[in-house]
Subunit: 228 residues, 2 copies
DNA sequence: TCAAAAGTGTTTGCCATACACCCATGA
DNA sequence: TCATGGGTGTATGGCAAACACTTTTGA
């Protein structure tokens, strides 16, 4: 006998994305104004429905590509939400992803869509259970960013030590000591210090760095583990 | 206009459970022999389909209750699996949970169902993508057990320091130093040392301990964080 | 010459690790 | 009395945290 599962209930599966960015020393998330009922006009995460012939990761990528035009965005699934009435229209389970993008290379987002960046401690009330999703996403990001070198996804390719520090400060919601941070990062030995300086922030200028992914991967193979 | 999502695809949602237990100094998982096609007779995780009017947590609890008769089992959701062909019968997305049970109080499981405990480094080939689920569950358990006092879920109410050490050794897949382990645990100050001894393992007998959940919660409120 | 940010080392305390002997008991 | 597992303390090294002054440069 071939069981065909025909008596089982089918449901809608949505993918919702918490898109993180970093700008003006602040961690931000991208929200859109929902343009259909229910909750039309309210702020919402970016999302979409899973289609029959794609995986959740593919659906997440599709949603992100539709919004940004890019399809190599860092993304991690973190939780499924399934309260029976979480979406008043129809029974919908949502699998949530957080994504990290470099705001500078996606600067056209805000005009193209009714999208807007919000600093993480200034987020408006969101529809459905999206508030709790954001909270969970941030927890996951905090953990991941201290254990894997994903923070660089949020920065331009070339960045200063100060930018990196501010990034971690805003992800972790703490102040860090400049000297300790610098020596910790240098100790990791996965950045390239460029000759070039960023002259925007001071007269003296500050050296730019790049993440050396090749070196990082080589070190991982040799047993290195990233930890901040 | 009220959007009714009517053009979207619906899918089956399954819940699969990795049930961990601890017996004879070994971390184990409970598997069943699948009794319907496809893959009938192969080893499989315990699972079930999400019903229209329940949450994923409720579905997980239902599956566990059906198997064990208990419904207060520690359980944590950890990932959704969505490869298009992961289940050959129909498009099915699986949300996976790991659960921790005390084997002693559920000793009848093996006979009641075609279920069997397998030591984690002696697990047979499983159906579908269940192998990878087990691997991910173990990773999550390793993380969680070092950050929250959930290991006790796997032990009898009263346990010896040695049992606790062996438990952590098998979860973390390492050897631990007896003196260091003991003083670390005692330093946490969340166990009650009983007057009672376990006389089964030696002539001298070894003191029994209990997890003091009330004390733990009080300490957490005061800023304590569990860490092993 | 001054204001503003960049860059740089040392000291301290704590925690993780390594390590070995005596104790209690029943056979 | 002996074999078996239970129970206990100290010394060391490494890492995290605290901390302040000099440098550079354009205005």
């Amino acid at each position: 006998m071939l069981n065909n599962y025909s008596n089982e209930d089918k449901v809608l599966l949505a993918v919702d994305c918490i898109i993180f960015g970093f700008e003006k020393d602040q961690l931000k998330i991208l929200l859109i104004k929902r343009d259909f009922e229910p909750e039309k006009g309210k702020w919402s995460l970016i999302g979409g429905f899973l289609k029959k012939n794609e995986t959740l990761d593919q659906a997440g990528n599709r949603v992100l590509k539709h919004l940004t035009g890019y399809d190599n965005i860092y993304m991690e699934q973190f939780n499924a939400y399934s309260e029976v009435d979480r979406d008043p229209v129809d029974r919908t389970i949502s699998v949530s992803y957080y994504a990290l993008i470099n705001i500078e290379t996606h600067s056209a987002l805000e005009e193209q869509y009714a999208a807007q960046w919000f600093a993480i401690d200034d987020i408006p009330k969101l529809i459905f259970d999206h508030d709790i999703m954001v909270k969970h996403a941030l927890n996951r990001l905090r953990y991941r960013a201290t254990h894997k070198p994903i923070g660089f996804e949020l920065l331009p390719e070339k960045f200063t030590m100060k930018q990196l520090q501010k990034l971690y400060e805003s992800i972790l919601n703490t102040k860090l000591d400049k000297r300790n941070f610098t020596s910790k990062i240098n100790g990791l030995d996965i950045l390239v210090k460029l000759e070039e300086k960023d002259m925007n922030s001071s007269r003296k200028g500050s050296f730019l760095y790049m993440f050396d992914e090749t070196k990082y991967k080589k070190k991982v193979e040799e047993g290195f583990t990233f930890k901040i």
